[in-house]
Amino acid sequence: MPGANGNASNGTQVTFLEAIKQAMFEEMERDPAVVLIGEDVGVYGGAFKTSEGLLRRFGWERVIDTPISESAIIGAACGMSYCGLRPICEMQFIDFIVCAFNQITNFVAKGHYLWNAPAPIVVRGPSGGGVHGGPFHSANPEMYFVHTPGLKVIYPSTPYDAKGLLKAAVRDNNPVLFFEHKFLYRRIKGEVPAGDYTVPIGKAVVRRGGKHLTIISYAAMMHTSLEAAEALAREGIEAEVIDLRTLLPLDEETILNSVKKTNKCLVVHEDTRTGGIAGEIAAILFEKAFDDLDGPLMRVTSLDTPVPYAPTLEEYFLPNARKIFSAAKELARY
């Protein structure tokens, strides 16, 4: 936890949320061009307290509380970035990012292609379900933006990656959307090294080695997939588990290397089924690894419905380790 003296990381176990806070703290410390802009990010420290302490250290000019105006947040950040600043925009819940859809997809994303104007902004916020937030506080809207050339889309699963990728996002010259799965905020802890480091954008990582099939996932479902992989191992099925970390640009190489070895692929995402990243991965495998496939590409996803509120409904809606286990068993039979 960043102390008043600004010593942020000390190489200990931190929560996912703490890692994000450290990344912002250290980047603002490193570069006065970095500012934070969003709703209730200042005095209150953010709805999830991810920016707690930042106002106290960096002041009103760099930690900017805004009206409830997502388009104004993104628009103003874009304008700031044209003057060389590197704003971090917080969406109080990532669900509200769609209120700024036009600013992001038409203004920010197209500027470099059309008129050579880089917009180094980061848009970050809490996403995902499993915490009974209901239909408007649980969304996984990443694929709206994966379909938008000009953006980068990051969705990490560990504190180490969250910190390193957020720092990389702040330093990137392109607009980067950074999804923080709120289920992980306080439930996941991990090692974060002392000192500055970044994690490269656009690189997936193999979380668990295996030879019988490949499970591709990201964010909270990464942990669920690992849980399923443990259960599969007890039945003699060794699943290789890949954490995408970045959805745009997608790391095709890591995906292809694994599937060419295991010859079977299961994609797990918490996003709804139709138009999820699984469809894109299927297309890549058909184009580039068709002869290597010994079974159909399978997917375990949320249902094609809004995220329901009641625990019984939401649990039915979401993927879980049991669903992944069953699908993987079926795939392994090919």
Binding site: A72, Y82, L85, L114, P118
Partner: protein
């Protein structure tokens, strides 16, 4: 029109209005020769707004044009060839053929932000530019334009409200040309004066005759300097008329004939020529010289544009992402000590203060909340603003404003 500017300033305004019209006349010819790839939007009759407002900016200031602000671009230093090539989708155009019309910008030198077709989006973007300029100590002003139709968008509200809350050095020109495509302003906004929208944001506004270039310039100049001094954003409604259709394809038969005739008789360039000659600032000889200068320039610029090739097809696949420092070295121009915004000097006590709390009239001076209609500090401010803007009205009100009376009353109610 009153004589307050230097001779050179008067002639500059004339030159740029003529250049604006000359560039657009030339593009109509190119359009008829099928040399313009997409649509062509005209600012015929509105040149005084683009030119007069942009002329109020300094070189370091930023602007973002809308579709009918070619004149503002020319004033800011864009070459006519760039405007031609944008419309002709040429490889040498600022966007290399990737976009057309006024959709281009220049971050490094001219400080121009490119618009997109979705109206209103520039308002928060230019608010951000203004905030960044203030943060970096650059003392800049950011300016953009919006139409009567564009003022109906949600992002107009979000942007102007945020600018007002931030007291950003931002000037918004609300170009009321009475028509949004085929829809008359009455069906866009249920207000006589669109400047009244400013009241909702607690910011000052002006109303100006958009066909009187001196009035437009004087008003914009005052607004720009007030914004630069930290008075917050200012809205200027410039009343005018869209003489052509929405674009070249649109004959605008929905516009009543008498309305068109009224405004045709109030052509901003003709009006200004009369003023200049009555003030002995322009005679037939110097007018001819200016015309010849512009004609020669535009012939040369057109030739350059026509000779530029279309972009190579493979260009379509390039440039989606900035690849890093080799592509763009993003620099920050600090014009204040960085120490002011870095710890320890940046550190503050993270608490809200509520100025005036407990000092409302109903409190009897004791600790009591401020009630509605009982906010003394704001009341004081209102009186001051009224005084100030009344003076403004006397100074910049043109002789023949469309609504001179409501203009001054609007200013009084500006806060």
């Amino acid at each position: 029109m009153k004589k307050e500017l230097t001779r050179q300033q008067y002639l500059d305004l004339y030159y740029y209005m003529r250049l604006n019209r000359g560039v657009e006349d030339m593009m109509v010819k190119l359009f008829r020769q099928n040399k313009i790839v997409g649509g062509l939007y005209s600012s015929l009759g509105q040149e005084a707004i683009s030119v007069g407002t942009a002329y109020a900016l300094e070189k370091k200031d930023w602007l973002a044009p809308m579709i009918r602000n070619i004149g503002a671009l020319l004033v800011k230093g864009v070459r006519p060839r760039d405007v031609f090539m944008q419309h002709m989708a040429k490889y040498d155009s600022p966007t290399k053929g990737k976009d057309g019309t006024s959709h281009f910008g220049d971050l490094d030198n001219l400080h121009i932000v490119s618009p997109i077709s979705m109206l209103g989006d520039l308002i928060p973007v230019m608010t951000g530019v203004a905030m960044a300029g203030r943060y970096l100590g650059q003392k800049i002003v950011a300016m953009t334009w919006i139409g009567d139709g564009g003022s109906s968008t949600g992002v107009f509200h979000e942007g102007l409200n945020f600018a007002a809350v931030q007291k950003a050095p931002f000037v918004l020109i609300l170009e009321n040309n009475l028509w949004a495509y085929s829809t008359p302003v009455r069906k866009q906004v249920p207000l006589e004066n669109l400047a009244d929208r400013a009241k909702a944001y607690g910011i000052d506004s002006y109303i100006v005759d958009g066909n009187d270039v001196v009035a437009v310039y004087s008003t914009a100049k005052e607004a720009v300097e007030r914004a630069r001094m930290g008075e917050g954003p200012i809205l200027i409604e410039a009343k005018s008329f869209r003489r052509m259709g929405h674009a070249q394809h649109d004959p605008a038969e929905y516009v009543p004939k008498e309305m068109r005739a009224y405004w045709q008789a109030r052509d901003p360039i003709t009006l200004y020529e009369k003023f200049l000659s009555s003030e002995k600032l322009l005679d037939a000889k110097s007018k001819k010289e200016i015309e010849e200068e512009i004609n020669t320039l535009l012939a040369k610029e057109r030739e350059f544009a026509e000779n530029s090739p279309l972009p190579p097809a493979e260009l379509a696949e390039t440039g989606v992402y900035c690849t890093g420092d080799d592509c763009h070295k993003i620099r920050v121009k600090w014009e204040r000590p960085i120490e002011e915004v870095t710890p320890p000097r940046s550190s503050v006590e993270a608490v809200w203060t509520v100025p005036g709390f407990g000092s409302g009239q109903g409190s009897g001076g004791a600790n009591a909340p401020i009630h509605f209609g009982d906010t003394q500090p704001a009341g004081t401010k209102r009186a001051e603003a009224g005084k100030h803007t009344a003076k403004v009205a006397a100074k910049v009100a043109p002789k023949k404003t469309v609504k001179a009376a409501s203009a001054s009353s609007s200013r009084k109610a500006g806060r």
